[in-house]
Structure formats: structure tokens, C-alpha cells
Amino acid sequence: MSDPVPLLNVQIDGIWHQFPKGTRVIEACAQAGKFVPRYCYHPKLSSPGNCRMCLIEMGMPKMGPDKKPELGADGKPVISWIPRPQISCAQDIAEGMGIRTDSPLTRECRHGVMEFLLINHPLDCPICDQAGECRLQEFSVQYGTAGSRFLEEKVKKPKRIALGPRVTLDDERCILCSRCIRFMKEVAKDDVLGFVSRGGHTYLTAYPGRPLDSNYSLNTVDICPVGALTSTDFRFKMRVWFLKETKSICTSCATGCNTVIGARERVIYRQTPRENDDVNSCWMCDYGRLNFHYVNSEDRLTAPQIRLNGTLETSDWGPAIVRTAEELGRFRPDEVAVIASGRMTNEELWLARRLIETLGTPHHDVVPRWGEGDDLLLNADRNPNTLGAQLLGVANERPGENLARIVARVRAGEIKAVLALQEDLLEAGFTAGDLNRLTFLLALNILPNPTVEAATVVLPGAAFAEKRGSMINAKGRLQRLNRAIAAPGNAQNDWEVLRELLQQLSGTAGPYVIEDVFKQIAGTIPEMRGLSLSKIGDRGYQLEDVEDVPAAPAPEPAHL
């Protein structure tokens, strides 16, 4: 065990506090409830101290002739104040340090810094995407002065610059804090941004022919305290104050970056990272961040469909479920296969597992989805919940292993019915001919695909942003999705669809709310014992030793 970090006494605005040694002055102030405004400082990046917004008054204990601190009437050290203001972002606290965050001098400093920052700023807030979440706006209100003494011409700088495929730059709004430069150098390890020219003419740029095209480029937009860097995708789409923000997770790979989904009514406008030091720090990749537009697609499946006389006809839920159950009742257990998805939530996978058990089929798996990973956040496993599928016994240790066998049995005429849950079977190794060979094909999905087109029954499900549920990331962290928007039309939450199907097949009542589904899981899967959906919390819950969990044994087929 290492020694505990010693606590140091620090006086902030007249009150003594204790903080662990190594705490930044700016962080100590925030912890004491005295927020110090800042632009360039970011806790995950180096501190260049260039914006000067965090100036405070600082002092150290006055030393007596015996080289010991002089004590005042209250028995605390008397502080000898440094006459000039100090930046609080680049210095750690020290024993007996005094800080003033709200003195006349600090207020004057903030007025001055704000006035300088706004000299060349275009003040185009009405058409700026950052408006509403702009530090320059907020600190103008809190720490600035209403007027400006600037009568001269503002410096003109480059505008509407495509720094890369996903980031647009307005140099006139830039306050030269260098957060983006430091992020690209220190975190993304792709040092493509820099400041050129000097003085009031300095501006941010990328070297010609070296665009900001890193897969992490949009994080620069998040950390830009002003509207200089904007997302080309989100730009001019929606005023941010209209966005309803929902905490969720990214489902584009097995990392499960924590996110905030910004939506208005039934449309998702953006996805941004949410800080979680156990998963993604403050970042997420561009690929995951922008991978939501399909949810807003015009082509979404909005009503169940049943094949009648060769064509798919729109139906209500009742007939679609009844038809599915009737059809499934005509097959022997080993004539049915269930192809589920590593994109399904634990709750959905649990019900899929129940479905597999009810049908008694030994033929089930998920479709593996591999891509190229990187050293930062992007996992090579593009399925967000492979561990969940394994833990809940829908897939074994080698997800996708059974697919080839299932396809072979379809070709041999041994498997006659397939339930395709959130997957296109063409991605599972089936051909269009294989789909036509099936007597019955159920497609539970959100968008049309060849499987949907060939299906006997189509059930419209919900996208990741339209449902609650949980997933387990590659490191065994159980995390929650939350519902940001409603599913379109008559589409339903997948877990409810699976429950209806189970009820119809087994004749028993299913769980009423998703919490009950989770309760069933927690009551059965040892790794999740004692947990509930609400206990997972916004930052997830680390499961113990999930990698060691053997896949649940395949259910005994009723007859082979």
C-alpha cells in the first residue's frame, strides 16, 4: 500500500479547507464551491495558462523571524498576499496557501480579460451554433461588462474553413485557447492543428493538405469553449436549447462510450460524449458519434407486416404475433434457428434466450461484427453487447461459430424456420436463395433489408435511442441505455415484442415492465445478482470476472 496522500490546508475566500496534495488550485476552488472561470484549462489536457481567465489572488503564510508561519488571532496562519494576480490552472495547492476568487482585483482581471477576448470577436451569437452552450457568452454574463470601449476595426480572419471532413472552423470566433491543438497532440496523437501569424492576427489552421481527419476530430468541437469549431454534421441544424438531453451509451462498438443524446421531438440531432473515467474519459470517436442518422431514416419500419399470397401486407400487432406463433408451432424444435444480435440489450437477449428455450432449438447464435480497432477507444468488436450475448447464453465463447452450421442445415432442408432478431441474414452467411428456401422467416428489425423483404412476418422494433436497457462492454462494465425519443409509428420496443411472442407461444404471462426483465436476469445470472436497472447508475457497474464466465450450456433439444 502506498502512503495516503497528505491533506493540505488552503484558505479560499477566507475559509480554510483541506485538499489532497497535488490538487490544482483551480480544482480546489471548484471543490470549495468557488468556481473559477476558465477557457484554456481542461482537466484532461496540459495547462498552457494562455487565456488568463482564471486569474486569482494568491498568497502564502507570512513567515516570522523563526521561519515559522505567523499565526493570527484565529490561530491560523497570516497570509502574505502576492501583489499581482496568479493563474489558478497551472499550479498545485501548497500548505497554508491563501486564495481569493472574488476580490476586487480578480473581478477587475476578469473584466479586462473578457474585454480583450471580445475585441475581435464577431458577436454573431444569433447565428452561432455554440450559442446557449458558449463559455464566452456565459462568462460575459457572469464576469464581463456590458459595454465595450473598442472603437477600431475588428481584425478579419478566415471563416467557414473545412478543417477536415467533419469540422468547420470560424477563426474570428476563436479565442486562441489551444484546447483543440492540445487535444489533437496529446490525446488523438495527430498533431495537425496549429496557430499561425502573431498577435491579434493569430489564427488556428491545419497545414494545407493535412486535414483534421482523425477519427477523434469531433472532440475538438466539444472542448472548443466558443463557436470556432463546429460540427459540420450538426451545424445550423438546431438551437441547442431546444435539445432534450438523454444520458445513454454509444452502441457502435464494444467500448460503450458514455453519451448524451440530443433530440427534439422525434429527431436525434447529435450525440456527444459524457465523462466517465472508467470508460471513455471525456471523448468518443467520430464514427460512433455520427452513427445515429439511420435512426431518423424515412425508411424506418413503422408497422408489422404479414405475407399474404406472396406479398407483405401491413398488419396490426395482434395478428402478426399470432401468425408467428402459429407458424412456429408447425415445426419440430430442431427445424427452427434463432439468429440474434450482439446489438441487442441484455433484456432483449434474455427474452431471446427464453424464446430459444421455449422453442427448444439448439440452433442459435449472434452475428459477429469485426472491424479495425485502435489504441484509444474504438474496439475491434463492433457489437456493443457481445459479452451480454455470451453471459445470457445466446452465443457461446466464439460468437458466430454456429452460423455456418445453421446455414448448412438450411441448405440441407433440416432447418425450415429462422427468427432473425435485429440482423440481416445476408450478413450471417445466408444467401438470398437460402432465405427463399425457408418455410418461415421472422424479421424483427428497424430498417428494410433483404431479410425483411423475404420475411413471412416483419415486426418493427426500436433503435438504440428509443429504448431503455443494459449492455455489457468489452471490459465487463454493465451500462444503461435510456430512451431519448419514441419509436416511429407503430414500432415497439423489442423486449415487448419478444415478450408478446413468448406469451403467445407458452401461454404464460410475461414481465410487465423492463425492470422486471432485469430482475429475472439478476435472479438467474450470478454475475448480475443483486443488481437492478436503477442500481447500474449513469456511470455503469463493473461486473466481476465476466471474462471467466463459461457460456451457458445449450438447451437440451426436446427431440432431435
Partner: protein, 164 residues
Amino acid sequence: MDIPAELEAVIDEVIKHYPVSKRSASLPLLHLLQEHFGYITDQAIEWIAQKLEIEPVNVLELVTFYPMIRREPAGKHHIRVCRTLSCAMAGSYRLLETFCKHANIDLHARDHGGHLLKSPDGHYSIEFVECLASCGTGPVCMINDDFYEAVSDEEVPQLLQKYQ
């Protein structure tokens, strides 16, 4: 861009002076390439970046920050007039104007960090520079590598005569 072997040998030697970070050799390398080629091209920026294993934008930052690094050729003779305080008070602004008048340079073409002021025939170019380190004898100027102190307006035509 052709870097002669002798120049590259000098460059390699200079880089050795910065064992902690090769990046620190950026400015010395810019000076060496400017001395050799007369100005800094995009290719020079990219060559330095590659040599020092940094991104070209890191070199571009320096090139655009320091006025003494040129992006285009200077005139046949390059004049530098000091504009820092002592020289300014001793009349360097007027001296700059006088030089421009006699060298046929349009002073109004000046912009921030922009192009070099040059006579139409390219014979002379002029730059208003920071301190040339002779504050007691202002206004001072340099023509090419020659240093002139306490330059009066009357001397200017003669001085230019020397540089044909």
C-alpha cells in the same frame, strides 16, 4: 528542392545540438535554408518537418510568427530599418519613408505579416524591423549585412548608390 550535401551536413550537425527535442532545431534550420535559398518555400517547410519528425504545421507556425523568415525572395539588396523605441524617437519612421521614396518602393502596400515591400524592378526590398542593437546611435539600419548608424535622410541616396 535540392539540399546540397554540405548544407545537409551542417543541418545534421545543428540538430545534434538539441538532444532533448529535435523540434528545437526548427528555427536554426529555417535560418540555414533561408540563407541558402533566399526564402522559405512550402517544400522547405515540409522538408524541415520531415527531418525533425514533426508535423509541417509546427514549422508553419514559426514561419508565420517570425517576420524575419521570408516566404518570397527579397530584392537584390535588402534594407532593414529599425523601428524599436530609441530609433523610432530618433526618426526611423521618416527614414523608412525616405528609403522607400529613393528606392521607388510603395510603402502603402504594407500589410500585417504579409508581403515583402519591393521596388518594381526587384532591385531593393525593405523591412521595418525590431531592435538592431545599437540604441544609442539611432536611427540605425542594415543594408544586406552592412550596418549603418545615425543615418540621416540626406545620406540615403548615397547609401543606395553603393548598392547597385
